[in-house]
């Protein structure tokens, strides 16, 4: 065991893991965190807490994760390289570990031009692969990036992201291999709509035996409306919603019916993903729609979640 985190133990037990995402508020309003927390209790094995997602200032990931942990939930702290240099990143990690956080997702982070501070100076002292390597050496060799010994244990279950749909396509598997070499333990992919292309990516991952060296969780996202689908296609680089799904969302109409159809499609996607060799879990990203996660997990037949005795 690398961290002893609940997520690690579930994945190690061979069970099909479920993680979800919680978006902290744009301020210190703890009640928002508490409300979202209850929506997810018992529905997933770990909860990712985003770090200034799309470069928009929010309650820090470390603080929110500490709140989750104090309330008996398993957080996954997300860490980007945009806002901190290697000194700040390491001290924030020590703080998180001290507060009981055991899962860390290492990301490069969206460019500040997409967020609400486009004129800010970015950092990018490290990139996600260098971050993974740094955290792995802190945990396994008990050494900081600068080479000094670490006072205390850093038992972290290290995660990384992967975008099977970005270009150049051949690079995507090479990059996953680099992350594995850097010491990543689990991977959460970008949300999947284009199933054939994801299968093609997974096939190559399996061919290189990477699925035996890292737990891969497939990312999914429920669509609230046909508008949301079209917005993704136009503005979010890296992946697109195929016409078949857009047609179903349009046919579903508006409001509640559209959201139900979105949940239904997401659940069906999860069942499809479960059959793909090498997929060990699912990561549900319901941005600003945490309510949808319970019905999705339920419909996908993944309840109740396994509770580990010890």
């Amino acid at each position: 065991m690398k961290s002893g985190s609940k997520l690690e133990r579930i994945l190690a037990s061979g069970a099909f893991a479920v993680t979800a995402e919680l978006g902290p508020p744009k301020g210190p309003d703890v009640s928002v965190v508490m409300r979202k927390m209850e929506l997810l209790r018992g529905v997933c094995d770990a909860i990712n807490v985003t770090d200034n997602q799309t470069a928009i200032v929010r309650l820090s990931s470390a603080a929110t994760c500490a709140l989750l942990h104090q309330n008996g939930l398993e957080p996954v702290m997300q860490m980007t390289c945009r806002d901190r240099n290697r000194l700040a990143i390491q001290s924030d990690i020590f703080g998180a570990v001290a507060l009981g956080i055991r899962n860390l997702l290492c990301l490069t982070g969206d460019h500040q031009v997409f967020g609400n501070h486009p004129t800010a100076k970015n950092v990018y002292d490290l990139d996600s692969i260098q971050l993974i390597q740094m955290v792995a050496r802190m945990r396994d060799e008990s050494v900081t990036a600068g080479g000094d010994p670490v006072e205390g244990e850093v038992p972290l279950f290290i995660g990384g992201a992967a975008n099977p749909f970005g270009d150049p396509f051949e690079m995507r598997v090479i990059r996953l291999a680099k992350k594995v070499a850097a010491g990543v333990d689990f991977i959460q992919t970008q949300c999947i709509f284009d199933l054939p292309r994801f299968r093609e990516w997974m096939k190559r991952v399996v061919d290189q035996g990477l699925h035996e060296k890292v737990y891969i969780l497939a990312g999914v996202m429920p669509l609230k409306s046909v508008g949301a689908a079209r917005y993704i296609n136009r503005n979010v680089p890296g992946f697109s919603v195929p016409n078949s799904i857009i047609k179903r969302m349009r046919a579903a109409g508006k409001g509640k019916k559209a959201r139900e159809e979105g949940i239904k499609i997401c659940a069906e996607m999860i069942q499809e993903l479960r059959e793909i060799e090498g997929v060990r879990g699912v990561h549900i990203m319901a941005v600003e729609w945490e309510e949808a996660i319970r019905p999705i997990v339920e419909r996908a037949g993944l309840l109740p979640r396994p509770s580990l005795e010890d």
Partner: protein, 223 residues
């Protein structure tokens, strides 16, 4: 070379409005090559300002000068009289030229008329793009001759990030190619794709501006 762009005319007008005697100094090296601050641009700016303040009393006196290279004190020395006479100096050189004048003529008010942008090259006439940020420790050999530190919006050394789509960078798809797509294509062409498997360790940024303003001293050239 250094590439610069003249400031908007309205901004320059606001800066010089209060002065009666103005000296405009161009530079005939980098800013002339990129047509931002050479002799002709000095004449153009002078003509525009004269027209703008033609009805003003007292009339605004505008002197036009241009020197070979404004970052060399010897070339600027010829301006001494004009600078003393003028109430303000409008320098059309890059930031280096402006500050050389200030260091050389401490009493002079020296105002910048251009925005110094980057070290880059003309893709075609009239279009320049950045190629080097002067990080102080060149690693171009590792990336097939394409610099990710300058040309990747996030200076990634183990790129690309998730936002690369058909060769364009998500930050500005219209103008920016994804540096890592270029690197990938180039290494594929040279048959050196295996280079991408090696993990590039965190960069030593101290040789770049992050380590503080840099200075080079060539012992063989200093007595």
């Amino acid at each position: 070379m250094i590439v610069a762009e003249r400031k908007p005319l309205s901004e320059i007008i606001a800066k010089v409005e209060g002065y009666n005697r103005l000296l405009i100094v161009g530079c005939n090296t980098c800013v002339a090559v990129c047509q931002a601050g050479g002799e002709k641009e000095v004449a153009m700016l002078a003509a525009a300002l004269r027209l703008r303040f033609r009805d003003r009393q007292p009339a605004m006196e505008i002197i036009e000068r241009s020197v070979e290279r404004q970052c060399e004190e010897e070339f600027n020395q010829v301006l001494a009289e004009d600078i003393a006479h003028a109430e303000a100096v409008l320098s059309m050189a890059c930031g280096v030229g402006v500050q050389t004048l200030v260091e050389q003529f401490p009493d002079a008010i020296v105002l910048p008329a251009v925005n110094t942008k980057f070290m880059g090259r003309p893709e075609e006439r009239g279009v320049w793009s950045e190629r080097c940020i002067g990080c102080g420790n060149c690693v171009l050999d590792k990336f097939g001759g394409i610099c990710p530190i300058t040309r990747c919006a996030k200076s990634l050394l183990n790129g690309p990030c998730g936002g690369s789509e058909n060769g364009r960078c998500e930050v500005d798809p219209e103008n920016l190619e994804c540096a890592w797509q270029l690197i990938y294509d180039r290494l594929a062409r040279l048959g050196q794709l295996d280079r991408l498997l090696e993990i590039e360790p965190p960069k030593d940024w101290s040789t770049a501006r992050y380590g503080g303003p840099r200075k080079i001293v060539r012992k063989d050239m200093v007595l």
